[in-house]
Amino acid sequence: MRSFDVIICGGGIIGPALGYGTARAGASTLMLDEGDKAFRAARGNFGLVWFHAKGLGCQAYSDWTRQSVDLYPAFSRQLKNDVGIDIDLKQNGGLEVCLSDEEAQMFKSEIETMASQSTDGAYSSKFIDPQQANEILNGLKLGPEVVGAVYCPLSGHVSPLKLLNALHAGFQKYGGVYQASSTVKEIIPSGEGFTIKTNTESFSCKRVVIAAGLGVTTLAPQVGLNIPVFPERGQILVSERIQPVLPLAISGIRQTEEGSILMGASNEDVGFNSDTTGAVTTNIAKRAVATFPVLGNLNLVRTWGALRVLTPDHNPVYDQSSVHPGAFAATSHSGVTLAATNVDCAADWILEGRAPELFQSFTSDRFSS
């Protein structure tokens, strides 16, 4: 039976970020990836690096997000240097556009809450009117229904697929072992460590990290953790490639480096179903065209659906089992935004057991009461 210091269960975006960190610190690390039958949130992602109102009602989540977006420029350069992959980071601010007074009211009250819960008084998102938004948009015209927008100078976007590729490449560069088509069936605490049984073989390790997306619900209880997560479907439309028109990311509209316009931001509770539907894609397209009428001229070339991984309070989980120390779990629906801190914290947290102080707010015992 092959033995490793660390086994990561999950090859999505959180697993390889943590594995990159542990492998770089010199720990022998195996990453087990279920395969294409898995519901891969990491491969359906929109690609926002988003601060805005992340952590509404949970300042630790906001602080953790802030740390990651602050780290992102250096993180992006580090990936480029380490594995030669440019993740197309554009972090020149982001907009959330409001198409009705109700939306504007909701966003304004979110900003007020965020500003008042902020501990350092440095909360920087602000509500702007359409005229101010037009100035930021550099000539791209907003539709008449737009009543305002929330501007956050810290937000931005990346190519989530290039990020995923870069994290995997970094993990393997430092000796991490990637194994595809490996469904983790059982995690058996044994002696000082764990035995991990997949569909085909068994491994042993000193530490195990469950970063299995929606799979965490069945794996976490085996190491004494209770982490309820739910799938939430999002659908995305992709346009033909066009000349650059969007100078910055909008919460549901972004232009990739290659020129495609992505449109998204739907939320549906439909269980384990990642299909697309006419009704939702129509609404996404209508909203995009109401925001920027010129988008109505575009040809669409692709749509897809994917499942977000949500906890009941939508806040992340970073936890180590108290019953079986050495067993860790991490989940959040911000795998892209938090990638920089996930890489950064991995060695201290997983190898040394030194969790960042903020993780006190991210333990899973909050779901047990």
Partner: protein
């Protein structure tokens, strides 16, 4: 490339491809008309600008994208010629005016 026979003068369709007027039989695809007109490179790609020509001629490879009557990124092999049609090469990314 050339057609196997001259177009029927009664039913032929005349269109303009990259500024060149050409008559072809009705029912001909724009991709075939472009090839007959002598235009082999029908687009350049949006990311690295490399040259592309009609390839599969059955709608699946998307190599023959052209601007047809002002609408960019149309599959020329899936579009049938019409009288007076104006066809241009698709050069890189489409421009969208705002």
């Amino acid at each position: 490339m050339k057609t196997l026979h001259a177009p029927n003068p009664v039913t032929a369709v005349t269109l303009t491809i990259e500024g060149k007027s050409i008559s072809v039989d009705q029912g001909t695809s724009v991709a075939a008309a472009a090839l007959v007109s002598g235009l082999i490179i029908t687009r350049t790609t949006p990311v690295d600008g490399s040259r592309r020509a009609p390839y599969c001629l059955m709608g699946v490879c998307y190599e023959c994208l052209m601007t047809i009557d002002g609408v960019a990124n149309q599959r020329a092999c899936q579009t049938i010629v019409r009288e007076g049609m104006v066809v241009l090469r698709q050069d890189g990314k489409r421009e969208v005016m705002s």
